[in-house]
Symmetry: D2
Subunit: 388 residues, 4 copies
């Protein structure tokens, strides 16, 4: 028995001052068995080099461009070459980088939204299928143990047929025009040339849609939407409200906002079925409320010591006994763990993992949702079908 | 100084087995200064008489019909005659009874929804104006102290301009076709000939709309709606979802359901303004969360001992120090207190009360909302204006 | 079938500006079937008269002293005479008034603590037994539906043998020496000649002890206590902490404070048994958390529509469906309802009520607890037995 | 500028099946800049080797005994030798291993309780002082951002003088005699030869005492205790209740239990001062409630984006914006981060860190607390001084 091989990660984006790149690195560190070996952390070579040093990466693997990284890494020997590329740049670069990485035969783990247009998303899906590479998308909220358990409750029929889904994602950090003060995160997210045509819709509305489909176990089929831009002069939406009709008969409501003052990261979902209901809040992620018509509400709690009460995927997603809070990084790490496990499975090192992760399929679906919402919010349109 | 005169109440409906009639009586008892002196409690004279006895009302004032009650009471001397009629029947009778009471010169306190059609509601408003009688409508949730304080926060500008309102009212008691088992409350509420054309929409959606307008301090101007009937065979809606546009620029979402299993009486509202946000839940009515961009969230609590932190109307609506929970009956009693105070004011016994109550105006507005939602939910329609 | 006779109440204390007297009146009004007919509301005859007028009581039944009230009422005819005396004065008067009322053959409903000494409490118990009158004590927190259900869970053995009880009652309103500013409620509660030798201990510690014994279904047998006076110059305790040993093997902790800044009325209890646990908070009284070793926590909710899930006494203590909050006044009213029902039962008008109320027995036990705590808090003493 | 040197960790204990060893490794991985390079993971050399392989450690650094590890590592060159030893064995081995590591000139990071007797703890403190090595103790709950902020509120005087501290730590996992079924975690914790004379008291009571002193900014001076063993046949306490007197005048209550069914990891603390109060719950660690006499309660939330509202140490302890829950591992990682920073500071690589960590001093204090509680719980004793 020899030590398990590490899965080697290269990163594009995520240099100094970036938010989500650091999260990916912490998640990968916590996941175990993943090693960050190289990166093109910034378009500015000096900055990329500086980031690499801070991260303890050897300077020769701090690349000036992602193309250089793909080229050089592709030529390294098997036991050194990176296994996959983590794409953590602003949205408009996802497509180009991810496609190039796939073409160079690397697996890809990409930030959401997958691309800036549905067209590009579909093209990327084709590339994934053609190259046979593994492709993960960072819809990280599905990494929470109780989100997996919620999905299990629906999939197993415990809640009956789903009637209604209420999902929302509210934040307040863009309530003021901080992009005008140069706040870096705000700057690119409110610039359609970098973020794509959808603002709040693309940034967090897609998370809400993904979570709804994941737990309700059915795709959103039609949308009727209202898009708003509350901060004057902002060229993208900062608030979105959508009536939903799902493919298997459920209806629902999805809304998201980035101008809801002092809301932090308020992703919540409720599912009402013919036999029972459930409710989950991302800000209190280790608690799932389950409601029944004929007995008291249940407070289902995450935790390994609680195994008999949770579905296998939920148990696998826990690291600690109940009462020891696991949070955002842990859930994110579960995606990395599942993705790395899948790479190891593809290499024959382990059997299939009980943990799942969002793939290019989910990435495409989110872009189809964005596309339909944008069309529904135009004058005259009401219900618009989401391309399946 | 002599003892204050009681305000004398007659009741139509609310006999044995009725739910809301008993609530009105408890609220009136708690309000103080109101005395139930007569009633036409049931269409069945025997039953009406039995109800009167249980309630300690003399048999000669237990009337067989509301018309008889109006007629006989009108002839009683000033110091015995009832002052106002409480109408607590199913919806389809509100209009006829209320109009007749007004025509006989009685004040009226009427259950919601005001009528079953906007047309009748407008007619009733005319009658009120013509007769000069006082008219209260039981949108009881505005009786809570912290609802009054929430309205004050908006009205005073503390939250800035309202951008978004999210209001919902979810219940689960009609998740199964209990009307087929003869459950009395379900029976009339799901029968359009008794409840009117709107089911869940009329029964609780109107409360949500009223609360939203009360706190946001602006009328709903346009709606875009989806109505659902989830329980097969039910002739009215049991779930409603509405996108909202308000008159002064706010947008919003309203949804209500009576098939959301194990939701109890989940009326909640959030208001997001340009300066701050608020959140209130009817099931935890003594807490109001207020959110700011630059300082910690505040937990504002109801209670007389807390006076300096609450608006005058909110203080007036409290009976007890903070930490001594006041609930549904207390809030309902505040409407009765305000209505009785207004009657006493009209008689010159007291000056104006700091407490307000919903009038025929709010009753009409709710019917205009129902009317617009019903039209918006028809194929082809999207945004439909709410008649102002 | 004739209308039920009202139970007629006379009140001693509770004039203008009093807190608890008003609560008793609201509770009695909400209870139904109780009529306030007379009172000696204040030692100041003018004030007593003014209070009577405000309350709609005829001036000839506004008495100057409680002795006059007992004397005159005793001579009234059966169908006018008050049935019971509500004693709502400061503590030091309870004994004298209650004893006199009993001797005059009236039932008594008395504020807590029963007396200022255990000696007086035992004497009063003798008087009750000798006169055969009914005697209620306002340990009002046992009137909450879910307190009754909690007691039922223990009594039925559902939680197994009780191991540990954690009960606390924290307030903050005496964190500053407001008695020096003449605040009326603070004034008498911090004056040992009016309140007795126990401050916080007597005022709210007794509620906590009563609640613990009520739910744990066993008496406190021994105490080990620490009494504190945090506000300089205050002649009574304003904070108390007690280790508990119960008669049937449970152990526990009781603490109470009136200097815990911004705690409102924080009475909470947890009971841990060999099979399960429970948790209840007075400030969220319609929720009871029940915990099990092998299944998710349950959120048990009060409400009539929830009948199958609650014990009969808990159901009887509810007026409204779940989700319609019932609060402090409603719970208080349940004591009055039970007490009035017991009077009617004693007159042969109704059968036994499913609702219980605290009697002189509970009043004596609370004084025994106070007595033991005071002794345990003296130097040298550790565990002190509570007289049984 | 060169890449920062990693801080190299060796581990004693924490082999397959261990709970806390895995937590230490995850925490160290998340902390950054720490590398696990060697270990004596089990007394069984085969098992130790297997653990090393799973962890990706080279077989030659998987040692059979901790003495071998200290010996061999001491001879490695500077740039390979481990920097510190993490001691994660059962309690009875802490002293011997930690002392030996210090004597070999290694820094030590040790699980709590520090030792099994106060005598050993004091001896260890002497060794630390003599050798000049750094010594961390895993009182991990002080690693939470809002615990640091709570301490800041007290230290800065914002809450005034502390009057009362209520701290508790309740668990339910030992409510049944699972040690008799061989459950590994239960086995050693209930065996006095492995855990020391204190059961629940040593395992979690020490955490509560440490947290109380950390936040209240004053040592516990005297205790009055009741120790219980509820599970028959268990040779150590499984429940403890203590009245507290602090050195600067505060009083308090500490209780801990491991038989409180379905309590998970319920460490909570409240501090009441002369100007304000605070409340923190480990199971909801990103929320701190702060209470004031004259304005609404505040909900202070953890998160980097919230910087202006938090103290510098609290900000430094956050990795993510508010609303992105950070949990147990993150808090634990903050101790490792602070400890590794201190090692780097001692090597002159960085300046002082704003993050603190518990040292041998806190380890000794906890043992002094245990010692005093054990003595106070004997018959005849009441208040017992905690050696300072």
């Amino acid at each position: 028995m020899s030590a398990p091989l590490k899965v080697r990660m290269g990163m594009v984006g995520g240099g100094e001052g970036a938010f989500i790149g650091a999260v990916h690195r912490m998640a990968a560190a916590l996941a175990g068995h993943i090693e960050l070996v190289c990166g093109a952390f910034s378009r500015d070579p000096e900055r990329s080099l500086r980031s690499a040093r801070t991260l303890g990466i050897s300077p020769q693997r701090a690349y000036a461009t992602f193309r250089q990284m793909l080229e050089v890494e592709a030529m390294l020997p098997d036991d050194q070459r990176m296994d996959f590329v983590a794409v953590v740049t602003p949205n408009h670069l996802h497509y180009e980088i991810a496609r190039a990485a796939l073409e160079c035969n690397f697996h890809v783990f990409c930030e959401k939204p997958l691309t800036t247009t549905l067209h590009d998303a579909l093209a990327l899906k084709n590339t994934v299928q053609r190259t046979g590479r593994l492709f993960g998308v960072a819809f990280n909220y599905t990494g929470y143990p109780l989100v997996k358990h919620a999905r299990h409750l629906v999939a197993s029929g415990a809640l009956g047929d789903v009637r209604k889904v209420v999902v929302e994602y509210v934040q307040g950090w863009l309530a003021f025009p901080i992009e005008k003060d140069g706040q870096k995160q705000a700057l690119w997210r409110t610039d359609p040339t970098l973020a794509g045509p959808a603002g709040c819709l693309g940034d967090i509305g897609t998370h809400a849609a993904n979570l709804a489909e994941y737990i309700a176990c059915q795709p959103i089929a039609e949308v009727c939407a209202d898009l708003s831009t509350f901060v004057p002069g902002r060229p993208v939406d900062d608030d979105v409200a959508v009536l939903l009709r799902f493919a298997h008969g459920a209806r629902g409501i999805l809304h998201a906002s980035q101008v809801a003052i002092d809301e932090e990261n308020g992703l919540t979902i409720r599912v009402y079925g013919t036999k029972g209901s459930l409710e989950w809040r991302q800000e209190d992620p280790n608690t799932l409320i389950v409601k029944w018509p004929d007995r008291p509400r249940e407070i289902v709690r995450a935790g390994t010591s609680y195994a008999s009460r949770l579905s296998p995927a939920a148990v696998a997603a826990c690291r600690l006994p109940a009462g020891h809070p696991e949070g955002f990084i842990e859930a994110f790490a579960n995606l990395y763990r599942a993705f790395a496990d899948d790479i190891r499975r593809s290499r024959g090192e382990i059997l299939e993992s009980v943990l799942d992760y969002p793939t290019v399929e989910e990435g495409v679906r989110a872009m189809a949702f964005v596309d339909a919402v944008l069309r529904s919010a135009t004058p005259g349109a009401k219900w618009v079908a989401v391309p399946q």
